[in-house]
Symmetry: C2
Subunit: 206 residues, 2 copies
């Protein structure tokens, strides 16, 4: 019904910028200086429930931002032998960040193998489905533990934290209250009509 028409305009430079890793790095640096390693750590600990990034994305992103003059770094010989590059925003970077934040649309995309697996549950063993739910629940508890401690009192940080908790708790609650019945149904179906979905089926699956 809702056919999404891309609104991308004539001039390529007018296109909505995407919140990519560069923007996120810029954003994190907007709250204080950090090394590439630090940024990755933050993704892992605090932001992973809504954004993921690896070193292979972060280091090139920082290099590109430095090239564009949006960030600078000073080198420091820390505990390791390798000197750390401590990045911080330049004035141009601060402007760039504001421009990006002002322009990019509030997209929210989920790429969930977990949900797809649940959708296809009839094609899997009930044990495997159950194990996947357990795994997902563990992951959620891990996220929730991180989110349970407030860090900054900044409105944005708190609003985001609250949203994360609300969503993750709703997910966990749903999974906990429905898994038993779900697995039971799957087992029964498997017992009675094991071939149900293994032959070509006519009809709308949706």
């Amino acid at each position: 019904m809702t056919y999404i028409v891309p609104i991308y305009t004539l001039a390529s430079h007018l296109r909505s910028p995407r919140v990519d890793i560069k923007t996120v790095c810029l954003g994190i640096l907007g709250f204080g200086e950090a090394t590439g390693y630090d940024i990755k750590q933050r993704f892992e600990r605090t932001y992973r429930h809504f954004f993921a990034a690896g070193y292979g994305s972060i280091y090139p992103a920082l290099a590109a931002l430095a090239e564009s003059g949006f960030v600078t770094y000073r080198e420091e010989r820390g505990p390791g032998a390798r000197p750390r590059k401590i990045y911080s925003l330049t004035d141009a970077g601060r402007v760039e960040l504001r421009i990006r934040l002002a322009a990019c649309p509030p997209r929210h995309r989920v790429h969930s193998d977990f949900i797809l697996l649940m959708f296809m549950a009839e094609m899997m063993s009930p044990e495997r489905v159950d194990a996947a739910i357990t795994e997902r629940l563990n992951e959620i508890h891990c996220y929730l533990e991180h989110l349970s401690k407030p860090r900054a009192k900044r409105a944005g940080a708190e609003f985001t934290r609250g949203l994360g908790i609300a969503v993750l708790e709703a997910t966990a609650h749903y999974l906990k209250t429905n898994r038993m019945q779900f697995i039971k149904t799957l087992r029964e179906q498997q017992g009675s009509a094991p071939q149900a979905l293994q032959s070509p089926v006519t009809g709308d699956p949706a």
Copy 2:
């Protein structure tokens, strides 16, 4: 000269398969035949809250699956002049699908520009933050409308539908009950300490 041998070629079958568009196409075809166009429609209508795909991904995926012998198609001259290719799973495809479903880990990744924007709210105008929340709420209501009608009584479909509703409703509820206070706080902060996070920036972003 170091010659690097890619390991992909050696052990590609040992890596955890990812639920990519191919898997999803395979999965959808597991419930019945469909054209590339159909698959895209289903993404748009029913699955978009957890998986997105465009024609540019789907058609090549189907072509590759046909090449591998996991799907076949029959051509049909429908209402349009262009013949439609109606795809269906082969036996090999059914096996492949089961293998993929049995092996791939239940990843769940969110890439949310929206949440990031909220996190960085102090660097945006309160009006823009408010508008972004409105936009996100509208999107959620759109998804919820689709999810409100049960389609198939399949356990997997119903479980997934329920999960989607629970998560989206929790999100909407959180946004609705907290937005007022959030925007108010942002406005106050901007009034009292407008340069808090904007220091090096002169002028107000629209």
